[in-house]
Amino acid sequence: MIKGLLITHGQLGKELIATAETILETKVDLECISLDWTEDGSHMIHKIENYVKKNAENAIIIFTDMFGGSPANICFRFNQENIEIITGINIAGLLKFLTSRNKKVDLKEFARSIKKGATDDINIISEYLGEKSK
């Protein structure tokens, strides 16, 4: 099974996991590292290093909340063969990951499908309904 690590500003990651668990009505195997607003990131790097070391035999997808934010910037250094890093994750992308991670797929292809699930979920309702909102 592909491992998942969520790295976000503040408590966003924990809330995403709690939301996914409520929707799926089950506990999910997904770890979370939160960037405290007052820290410089060195503590986070150490935690990620430990996670990557612990799961060295697994394929891993690291999710961060926003491209260009500290969690994403910190993760650049972990770009390696068994790891894909996806920025700007939302609940749709996370659900795509959690409901498809057991299928045998290429890691990069899987990451692309998660990105598609996350971005396809962003809609402008007036356009979706085919009319301009007044």
Binding site: L24, E25, L95, G117, D121
Partner: protein, 89 residues
């Protein structure tokens, strides 16, 4: 291949938790299962696919199933709709 139509009778329609239950159930069957709503036809084994339908209370969904366990799958899925996804008494 069998096809049936089922009305959505739970208040919130095919929202996230209902879609999760439906896709989870669909994945327990070998058959290919599709939902057809308006002009969309989606794989019922995909949670996100179900959500794209934005299907609400009072509408009907067509269920299309093809495979060895299609009858069992149809019975189970229609029962889930009838039970209002176990979210209402």
């Amino acid at each position: 291949m069998i096809k049936e139509s089922v009305p959505i009778i739970n208040k919130l329609g095919l929202h996230a938790r209902a879609a999760a239950k439906l896709s989870h159930l669909a994945n327990t069957f070998q058959s290919e299962i599709y939902l057809i709503y308006n002009e969309d036809r989606i794989n019922c084994k995909s949670l996100l696919g179900i959500l794209t339908l934005a299907a609400s209370l009072g509408n009907a969904i067509a269920i299309e199933i093809d495979g060895q366990d299609e009858n069992e799958a149809m019975t189970g899925i229609i029962d889930l709709f009838k039970r209002k996804f176990d979210e209402e008494s």
